[in-house]
Symmetry: C2
Subunit: 255 residues, 2 copies
Amino acid sequence: MSSNSSRPSSSDSAPLPPTAAAVTRVPSEPADQPVGRFRHEALAVVLRITDGRLTVLGWQRGRDPFSGAWAVPSGPLTQTETVGAAATRYLAERVDLTQIAHLEQLETRSEPGRDPFDRTIATAYLGLVPADVDPRLPDNAAWLPTDDLPPMAFDHESVIKSAVERLRSKLSYTNLGFALAPREFTISELRQLYVAALGHDVSATNLQRVLTRRSQLEPTGSVSASSRAGGRPAKRFRFVERSMRVTDPFAALRP
Amino acid sequence: MSSNSSRPSSSDSAPLPPTAAAVTRVPSEPADQPVGRFRHEALAVVLRITDGRLTVLGWQRGRDPFSGAWAVPSGPLTQTETVGAAATRYLAERVDLTQIAHLEQLETRSEPGRDPFDRTIATAYLGLVPADVDPRLPDNAAWLPTDDLPPMAFDHESVIKSAVERLRSKLSYTNLGFALAPREFTISELRQLYVAALGHDVSATNLQRVLTRRSQLEPTGSVSASSRAGGRPAKRFRFVERSMRVTDPFAALRP
DNA sequence: TCAAAAGTGTTTTACCTACACCCATGT
DNA sequence: ACATGGGTGTAGGTAAAACACTTTTGA
């Protein structure tokens, strides 16, 4: 379940940013608490099942801070866009990724020390890309396995962990599988996606029944050819709806 | 359920803030997308059961914008604190409220038009105050019924709605009831709190059993005196743990 | 005919709701 | 006694996991 716990204070040992003499806007503010302005950036944690593993889109930084480390696509807001729009924009600009099946706000990180050069507040988004979408990535970008991340810049590793948690929760009580799956698929293909995303085994039998009972799946009528090893050809299915919906509002304590 | 849906673009008709000639920090940024700095404030949506209703702490604004409307406690960050620390600080400073049983980050709003004077990004927190804590409030502050809010400033009404949604979800799958309840209580007192928070009826019988099965409740050993109308004296209970824990990770698709 | 893969039927377990009934107190 | 509110026992329903079994194909 999405356990967004609080992230209280702990603003010790925070190096004061060297820039930006604070702009006092409202005269009645006390002088010791100036109204500051802050760099604000959007982080896009884009997850996808790649070769049976849950991976995140990263790119390798070319300059300090954290030169050589990996980071999630990000960038500052313009004066007129929302954070969500900025996340979408940077994905398109930086890695030419426009086929996001789902995007939702994750959390905002504001620890003063998270960017050692200049204090930056970051609002992270969770994006999902279907497994059959495989955009051409720039040379310095790659899909990184979430269970074996390389050294990450800033607090990106912990933001990715949050995103994975969020995805795992929502796979249970929403129809979010549509955002990982191709438009059509067999149950065993879908099973592999769920196994990769959840990190534990899933029974194809029960997966089909659960998703069917919740009216998430419908058969397309077509069947896949059986593989070279033989076997019965699998029916193909699709998700009934391709936008997020809560399919299993938790029933405890209900009216 | 916490349905954090994305909140994409829609950055039309946004009045450009008149201040702050954008500070270009990284030379390689394109000139038409300057790296801006933004006012950033913390919003504290504090919920409490007051007289059997779910209420939110608000105060009446004395100046524009939205003079006379109600708002949730808020204020800008200082240069060295996190957003969570700012939320906590404003609650203490503005309404002398320090007995928050639970605080968690909710969401960040960044629509350019949300503050008509000066673009401000706001990160909202959800705070909970036990029903037996009744802090003295300043004259211009009050507990407002969440199901019948007065006209609210900015986007505060919709942020409050999000907070109520979050609370209702988490009451189902976590032990968050501890943050609404007094240290000791009878089952029927607890039932009234859940009814107020969830907005629908709850059976005392089943509430007790559900919370006991999940090891959230334990008897204190003491009993309440029966009321003037007679009746069996009620046992008193307490929450076993008073920090948030997921007690019912949703079971579908589990290993 | 056999192996492999897909799909269905059935059993078991867990949890939650509903409801009847018993318990302890004041009047 | 009896009304009032508190607490427990039990039956019924729903959902999911586990597992045995059938179906459909290729070799």
